[in-house]
C-alpha cells in the first residue's frame, strides 16, 4: 500500500453526540481530511451491521460508527 493512501470513509454519526461533535468541530474550525462522508442517524444503535458491509461493497475503504 502506498504511503499516500487516503481511505475514503463513510461515517454513521449519532445525532446527539458524534454528529453534534462534528458540528462543533466546524464551529471551532478544526481542520480534518475531506475524505469522510457522513450519514446522520438518531442513535448509533440504529446502525445495522449490514450498513457497514454495504458501505464497503459500495466502494468505501472504511466505515465508521461514531456514537
Amino acid at each position: 500500500m502506498s504511503s499516500d493512501f487516503e481511505p475514503r470513509m463513510l461515517g454513521f454519526l449519532c445525532n446527539w453526540c458524534a454528529y453534534a461533535g462534528a458540528d462543533l468541530a466546524g464551529v471551532s474550525r478544526f481542520q480534518y481530511p475531506p475524505t469522510l462522508r457522513v450519514i446522520r442517524v438518531m442513535c448509533s444503535g440504529r446502525v445495522d451491521p449490514i450498513f457497514l458491509a454495504e458501505a464497503l461493497k459500495a466502494g468505501y475503504d472504511a466505515a465508521l460508527v461514531l456514537g
Partner: protein, 916 residues
C-alpha cells in the same frame, strides 16, 4: 413608548412607530435599492468601522428582512423608488401613533456600552487601533467590516499582538461614575482573545490586562483555565496607566504591576473592554413609566421579587435590571413571563389565535420532484465551496426538478422563495444544503408546512459545519459538498409524509426540593392556576436559606423565607409533602407518574411536568484547621451566629476570611460565585459590631460582580484589608500558644504576614451531591461537578434536554437568593409553556412494528431505554409513539426485520450509502 396610563391588568400604552420609508409588507429584502443608492453613510451597526448606503438593512439576518431609508443621510434622488420592482419605497411615510391596551408590561430595555471618548490617557478618540470590545466583536464577525478577517483599522494589516484592557467604564469612579462591575467583560475578553487566535494566521499573541478575573458563571472558570493553559492567552494583573501611540500604528501600554513597579509593553492593537450603563433614553423612559431606579440607574427590584419593578404590573428583565450575561438575561426573561402570567392568569387564552396552515397536499402517486437549495451562508460556505457549481451539479441528479443558490437560505425572504418554488414547480421533496439540521431543520420544516407540504419531506446536507468550516481546500470541499448533496437527494427521493401524534398533558406539576428556588417555582405555578405537589426531603421548607443571614442587597433572609413559606402553606393549589423522597418516575413529557414515599407510606402522583430544585450544600473542608479549632467556621456557621446575634461577635478584635476554600482548585475547578460577596458582607457586619476590629480577606480574585461591587467599595472604605494569595501559595493556619495563626504572603510586599484572628471564616465551595438516582429517573445529565446540565447554557438555561423537566436553584449552579428566585420563576414559566398547551405533538419519526413479521422474541422490549415497545394482547410487539424517541435501537436489533424507523428507514439509508 410615549406614555403609560392605567394600572396593572389594564394599561393604556401610547406607542409611536417611527417611519421606515419602505413598506415592510412589500419589501422582499432583495437589496437592489441598496445597490443603487449613491449615498455614503456611517454604518452604526458595525460601530462606524465601515460605511453603508442610505437605504440599508442593519445586518443580513435582521427580522423583518426589510430595508429602511435613513432620511438624515438620504439626498432624495429617488433612485430606490425607480429600481424597486416591489414598489416598496414610501417617501411620504410618517410617524404612526397608536394606543395599545395591555394587562402587564415587561421592560427589556437593555443597556448601552460605555463610550471611552473622555479617557484621554487611553487615546481611543485619537488612535484607530484602540477599539472598544464591541468594535472588536464586529471585526471578528463574518458580516463585519472586514468579513471576519482579523485586521486592525489603522493599516488593515493583521495584528500579531493584541491587548485587552478590562474595567473600562466599570469599577471606576475616577473617569466616570460607574462604580459597579459590568459582570460580562472578563468572560467576553477571554472569548475574544481565543477567537482572535483562531482567526489569526501567524500565532497571535494576546494579553488581558485586568484587576480581578471574574469568571463566576457556570463552566466559565474552566474556559478561563483553558484559555490560559491551552490557548496561551496571557493574563496580566495590573492597573493600566496609559496607552500611547508609538511607531507604525502600534501602541505602548504602561501599567502599574502588582509589585508596584511601572512596566511597559507594545502591542499592534488594543481592545478596551467597555462596560454597561443605562442610557439617557432608558432613564427618560423609566421616568415616563414612573418606575424607580437604583443608585446606578438600573431598575430597582428586591431579592424576593427580582423581576418586579416598583410599579405594579410592570416587570423587568435583562441588563436594565442590573449588569448580566446572556444565560442570566434569558433566564430572567422567562421569570418576567412567569410574573406576567401570574397577573394575567384569569384571562389566559382569551386572545389566542390559532395558526392557519394549509391542508398538506396529497403527494401519493406522484413521482419524486426534488428542489435543492444551496446556501452561501454569506462567505461561510461560499468562501470555500463553489456554491454555483454545487447548485449546477444538483440539477444533474435524479428526480431534481429545481435548484437555486441563496446568500442566506435561512433568511426570511428565502423562505418565501422556497415556498414559491414548491408551489410553482410542484416540488414534493426539498433538500437544503447549508448548515446543520440540528439547528435549522425546524425552520425549513415550517416553510414546508406553509407551502402545504408535509414537513418530513425534507432533508439537509451539512456543507458548512461539516465541510466549508473544516476543510480549507476549495476543490476538495466542493467535491465533498457535491457528495453530501447527492446523498441527501438520494434519501429525499425516498422520503414519505409522516404524521405527528398528539398526547394529552396532565395538569399538575411536581416540584422536587422545598428550598428558595423550589418554593419560587411552586408559587409561580400555583399563582398561575396549576396544581403543584412540592416534595421536600427534610422536615421543613427553606433549605439552605434557613441558615443565611442577609441577601447581598442587605435584606433579611429570614423575612423573605417566612413570607415564602407562609405563601406556600396558604396556597390551596400547593400540596406540601415534607420528609418525602421520590421513589420512582414513570412516563414522559405531559404524562408522568411518580411514586413518593413519606415515612414508609407510598403515594402515586400524576403530573404533566417536573421541576428539579434539589439544591446543593456547603463543603465541610479538611484544611485550615477546620473541625480542629472552634474558632474556624464556614460561612453558614458564621451566619448562624449573626442570626442568633451572638454577643461574642462584638468582642472580635481580628477576623480573617479565606476565599476559594475548595473552589477553583483542580479537584473542583469551578467558582462558587457567591462567596466573595458573602465574605465582604460578613466582614462589614463584623465592622458594624466593632468598628475597631481588624478584618482581613485573603482572596484570589474578588468576584463581587454587578452591583455587588458596592459592598467591596464599602468594605475597603470601612478599613477591611484585602490580601491576595496564589493557589500555589495558599495561606497556612496553625495554633501556637492557644492562638490561631494565619500566615499568608502579602501580594504587594511579597513577604509573609502573620495574622492572629479570633475568628477564621472559610468561604467554602458550594458542592452538589450529584443526585444520580434523580438524573436516571428523568433521564437528565449531571456534569462532572455534580450539577445538572441544562439543555443549552445560553438559549435554554432552565430546560433539560428531556422534555417536560425543568431546572432551578443551586442544583443548576451556585447562585444568590435573588438569582434562585428568578430561576424558580423561569422554570415555572417554561413548565407553563407545556401545561398551557394541554396537548402536545410528538415527532412522527418513530419506530413501528409490522405484526406479521414479529416473532415475539422480546429483544426490542429489552433493549429500548424508553420503554416504548411492549407486547400487546396478541402477543406481538407494539411501540408507543409517545414514548419512542426514534433512536432505532430496536430496529437494528430486530432479528425478524419487523421494525422500521420512519425517516431513517433501511431503503433510505441504503440509498445514501449506495450513492457513492
Amino acid at each position: 413608548m410615549e406614555s403609560v396610563s392605567g394600572e396593572a391588568g389594564n394599561f393604556q400604552v401610547e406607542v409611536v412607530n417611527h417611519p421606515r420609508y419602505i413598506d415592510p409588507d412589500k419589501c422582499t429584502g432583495c437589496g437592489v435599492c441598496k445597490q443603487h443608492c449613491p449615498v455614503d453613510a456611517i454604518d452604526e451597526f458595525n460601530q462606524g468601522l465601515c460605511r453603508r448606503t442610505a437605504t440599508y438593512i442593519q445586518y443580513a439576518q435582521a427580522v423583518p428582512l426589510s430595508y429602511t431609508i435613513d432620511r438624515d443621510a438620504c439626498i432624495g434622488c429617488g433612485l430606490c423608488e425607480k429600481v424597486c420592482l416591489a414598489q416598496a419605497p414610501l417617501y411620504d411615510d410618517h410617524e404612526n401613533r397608536q394606543t395599545v391596551e395591555v394587562g402587564a408590561i415587561v421592560l427589556a430595555l437593555g443597556n448601552e456600552v460605555f463610550r471611552p471618548d473622555e479617557l484621554a490617557a487611553y487615546n481611543y478618540d485619537t488612535h484607530p487601533n484602540v477599539v472598544t470590545s464591541l468594535e472588536f466583536e464586529r471585526i471578528l464577525s463574518a458580516s463585519g467590516p472586514y468579513q471576519g478577517h482579523l485586521l486592525r483599522p489603522y493599516d488593515l494589516q493583521e495584528p500579531k499582538k493584541i491587548a485587552w484592557i478590562q474595567c473600562v467604564g466599570s469599577r471606576d469612579v475616577h473617569h466616570c461614575s460607574n462604580s459597579y462591575c459590568s459582570a460580562v467583560c472578563c468572560m467576553y475578553a477571554i472569548k475574544e482573545a481565543v477567537i482572535a487566535k483562531s482567526h489569526s494566521h501567524s500565532g497571535l499573541d494576546t494579553a488581558i490586562f485586568y484587576m480581578d478575573m471574574r469568571t463566576m458563571g457556570k463552566d466559565f472558570e474552566r474556559y478561563y483555565r483553558r484559555a490560559r493553559d491551552e490557548y496561551g492567552v496571557r493574563f496580566v494583573r495590573c492597573r493600566v496607566h496609559s496607552i500611547e501611540p508609538v511607531d507604525d500604528g502600534n501602541l505602548s501600554i504602561s501599567y502599574l504591576a502588582e509589585d508596584g513597579g511601572i512596566e511597559e509593553e507594545t502591542f499592534d492593537m488594543v481592545v478596551l473592554s467597555v462596560g454597561f450603563q443605562t442610557s439617557k433614553k432608558v432613564r427618560e423612559l423609566a421616568g415616563k413609566l414612573q418606575i424607580e431606579l437604583g443608585p446606578h440607574d438600573f431598575a430597582r427590584t428586591s431579592s424576593l421579587a427580582p423581576v418586579t419593578t416598583s410599579r405594579p404590573g410592570v416587570f423587568v428583565c435583562g441588563a436594565f435590571q442590573g449588569p448580566k450575561d446572556i444565560p442570566q438575561s434569558v433566564m430572567e426573561a422567562s421569570a418576567a413571563a412567569s410574573a406576567v402570567g401570574t397577573v394575567l392568569s384569569e384571562v389566559r387564552g382569551t386572545m389566542t389565535k390559532s395558526r392557519e396552515v394549509p391542508q398538506p397536499r396529497d403527494i401519493s402517486g406522484e413521482p419524486p420532484r426534488v428542489g435543492v437549495f444551496v446556501c452561501h451562508c454569506g462567505i461561510n460556505i461560499g468562501g470555500i465551496v463553489d456554491v454555483p457549481a454545487v447548485r449546477d451539479y444538483a440539477r444533474s441528479l435524479p428526480y431534481v426538478e429545481y435548484v437555486a443558490d441563496n446568500l442566506y437560505t435561512c433568511s426570511q425572504d428565502t423562505q418565501l422563495l422556497i415556498k414559491e418554488a414548491i408551489e410553482k414547480h410542484r416540488l414534493n421533496r426539498v433538500v437544503v444544503a447549508a448548515c446543520t439540521p440540528r439547528t435549522h431543520e425546524p425552520l425549513f420544516q415550517e416553510t414546508l408546512i406553509d407551502a402545504g407540504l408535509n414537513k418530513y419531506l425534507f432533508e439537509m446536507a451539512n456543507i458548512r459545519n461539516q465541510d466549508s468550516w473544516v476543510h480549507d481546500d476549495p476543490e476538495e470541499a466542493t467535491e465533498k459538498a457535491k457528495d453530501l448533496v447527492r446523498m441527501a437527494v438520494a434519501k429525499a427521493a425516498l422520503l414519505e409524509p409522516l404524521r405527528d401524534s398528539e398526547i394529552e398533558v396532565k395538569e399538575g406539576a411536581l416540584v422536587i426540593g422545598g428550598g428558595i428556588a423550589g418554593m419560587s417555582a411552586a408559587l409561580s405555578l400555583a399563582d398561575s392556576g396549576y396544581h403543584v405537589d412540592l416534595i421536600e426531603k427534610e422536615g421543613e421548607l427553606g433549605g439552605n436559606a434557613r441558615k443565611l443571614h442577609l441577601t447581598w442587597k442587605g435584606e433579611n433572609v429570614r423575612e423573605i423565607l417566612e413570607k415564602m413559606i407562609r405563601d406556600v402553606e396558604n396556597n390551596p393549589s400547593i400540596t406540601v409533602h415534607l420528609n418525602t423522597e421520590l421513589k420512582n418516575v414513570d412516563g414522559f413529557m405531559g404524562n408522568f407518574t411518580s411514586v413518593i414515599e413519606n415515612d414508609g407510606k407510598e403515594e402515586t402522583i400524576e403530573h404533566g411536568v417536573a421541576v428539579v430544585a434539589t439544591g446543593a450544600g456547603e463543603l465541610k473542608p479538611d484544611e485550615y484547621m477546620y473541625g480542629k479549632d472552634s474558632r474556624v467556621l464556614t460561612h453558614l456557621e458564621l451566619d448562624q451566629k449573626f442570626l442568633q446575634d451572638d454577643p461574642e461577635l462584638e468582642k472580635i478584635n481580628c477576623a480573617v476570611f479565606i476565599q476559594c476554600v475548595g473552589s477553583r482548585e483542580s479537584e473542583r475547578p469551578y467558582c462558587s460565585r457567591v462567596c466573595c460577596t458573602h465574605s465582604v458582607q460578613s466582614a462589614l457586619e463584623i465592622k458594624k459590631r466593632n468598628p475597631d476590629a481588624s478584618v482581613f480577606i485573603l482572596y484570589r480574585d474578588m468576584r463581587t460582580y454587578g452591583e455587588r461591587e458596592d459592598l467591596y467599595h464599602e468594605a475597603r472604605a470601612a478599613g477591611v484589608i484585602f490580601i491576595r494569595y496564589d493557589v500555589e501559595n495558599k495561606p497556612t493556619v496553625s495554633v501556637k500558644n492557644g492562638k490561631l495563626q494565619v500566615e499568608v504572603i502579602d501580594h504587594v510586599l511579597g513577604k509573609p504576614v502573620m495574622l492572629e484572628p479570633d475568628l477564621l471564616t472559610l468561604a467554602t465551595a458550594i458542592v452538589s451531591p450529584g443526585d444520580e438516582k434523580l438524573a436516571q429517573f428523568f433521564k437528565v445529565a449531571l456534569n462532572e461537578d455534580g450539577f445538572f446540565v441544562e439543555a443549552h447554557a445560553k438559549l435554554r438555561p432552565v430546560d433539560f434536554a428531556t422534555d417536560g423537566v425543568y431546572l432551578c436553584g443551586l442544583a443548576h449552579y451556585p447562585k444568590s437568593i435573588d438569582e434562585s428566585i428568578a430561576q424558580g420563576q423561569a422554570a415555572a414559566a417554561r413548565a407553563m409553556t407545556l401545561l398551557a398547551r394541554k396537548k402536545v405533538e410528538v415527532s412522527g419519526m418513530v419506530a413501528t412494528v409490522n405484526p406479521f413479521l414479529c416473532s415475539s422474541c422480546g429483544v426490542c422490549v429489552a433493549v429500548c431505554p424508553f420503554n416504548a415497545p411492549s407486547f400487546n394482547d396478541r402477543g406481538v410487539s407494539e411501540i408507543n409513539p409517545a414514548l419512542c424517541k426514534g433512536c432505532g435501537l430496536c430496529v437494528a436489533s430486530c432479528r425478524s426485520g419487523a421494525i422500521s424507523l420512519k425517516g431513517f428507514d433501511e431503503p433510505q439509508i441504503f440509498a445514501m450509502i449506495e450513492s457513492l
